[in-house]
Symmetry: C2
Subunit: 208 residues, 2 copies
């Protein structure tokens, strides 16, 4: 795929293929798609991407991505400011918000401790987290990092820092997914869900 | 995935997910990737896409995508203007150019006749093709459309128009791919490659 008849197309394909998971062939397919569409499609896509990166802010309180200095969640008077959910990034905030089951606020770490990737505690917003807790008013810290090696390391690192404070420290329940069959569950998850078995009554009725 | 904390991000994800084969999840992943990169990455991607669509031209001779009024291939004095290769779109031109085995010029139809998709002969550059042939100087028309139902229909439609003119009409050879094993070849291709068997001598030595 060496013969582009157009420098404009070649540049667009080169730029598209810098995106993760987009190869030369996909990039070309996307570029040809844009050429077939109305010019307004490319215009609005292009300017949305430029504006996204140049105008985005991070919430001064929770460090989540935000259009304003303080994000909508932190600004919302209905949210319980005494519960702080610690997450890795925006995607986790979105996943939790979509459940409609969490009414506290967040603290976005911006990553997980991962020596292999050169990410240490100083690269995350851990200092800011401790400052928030130092300011008082927080009763519960809910550690909601994914249960990978890095997530567990980060959870444990935070736990060691947090247990010096008079806080309730919680984490998300691990167990068998709703609707999953036991025989297909991995043994670690099944094992944990047996050790941490819960009263049957708590599963009756709605959420909570 | 309903809860975007940023309108800028929501817009970027919505625009990205209008691309073919890009779902909401992929769009979000791409947007978050851009947020982690230097602002120049989003800037150059965005402006490349805007410029692609707003500044692209189509070659006045062969209708291929071009940065100028006449494309580099049509302008090239080394190309044999007596041989015209008829293709569906730019991708086919690129595929043929990459082989380095074709030295004629092209005619880009802009699609294939496909009644199901509402594409008729009038939607393609068939009139322009016949005008080029009417202008004289063309000795061979090489029909290089893909061998699908629509490609074959278009080839046959063009063949009926072209055979009124004193032209050599050729098409690409169908057969077993170089390196393929016979037992895995589909029977239609294998059948055609038996009917159209070629002198063994022609396979000796390099390309023509």
């Amino acid at each position: 795929m060496t013969s582009f008849s157009s420098k404009l197309l070649e540049t667009a394909v080169a730029e598209l293929s810098r995106l993760p998971g987009v190869g030369k062939r996909t990039a070309l397919r996307l570029a040809l798609h844009l050429l077939r569409e109305d010019p307004s499609v490319s215009e609005s896509l292009g300017s949305a991407l430029i504006k996204l990166r140049s105008e985005i802010k991070y919430c001064a309180v929770c460090h989540n991505i935000s259009d304003h200095d303080v994000c909508e969640i932190c600004k919302n008077p209905q949210r319980n400011k005494a519960i702080l959910c610690v997450v890795e990034d925006l995607r986790d905030v979105m996943a939790i918000e979509t459940t409609g089951q969490y009414f506290g606020v967040y603290h976005v770490l911006g990553g997980k401790i991962s020596p292999i990737d050169g990410v240490g505690p100083a690269d995350l917003t851990i200092e800011e987290l401790m400052a928030r807790i130092g300011n008082g008013g927080i009763e519960e810290v809910f550690l909601a990092l994914s249960s990978t090696l890095e997530g567990d390391t980060t959870n444990y690192y935070l736990y060691k820092l947090l247990k010096e404070h008079p806080l309730k420290i919680t984490t998300i329940a691990r167990g068998i997914s709703v609707g999953d069959e036991l025989e297909y569950a991995d043994e670690i998850t099944l094992g944990r869900s047996i050790i941490q078995r819960i009263p049957f009554e708590s599963t009756l009725g709605g959420g909570k």
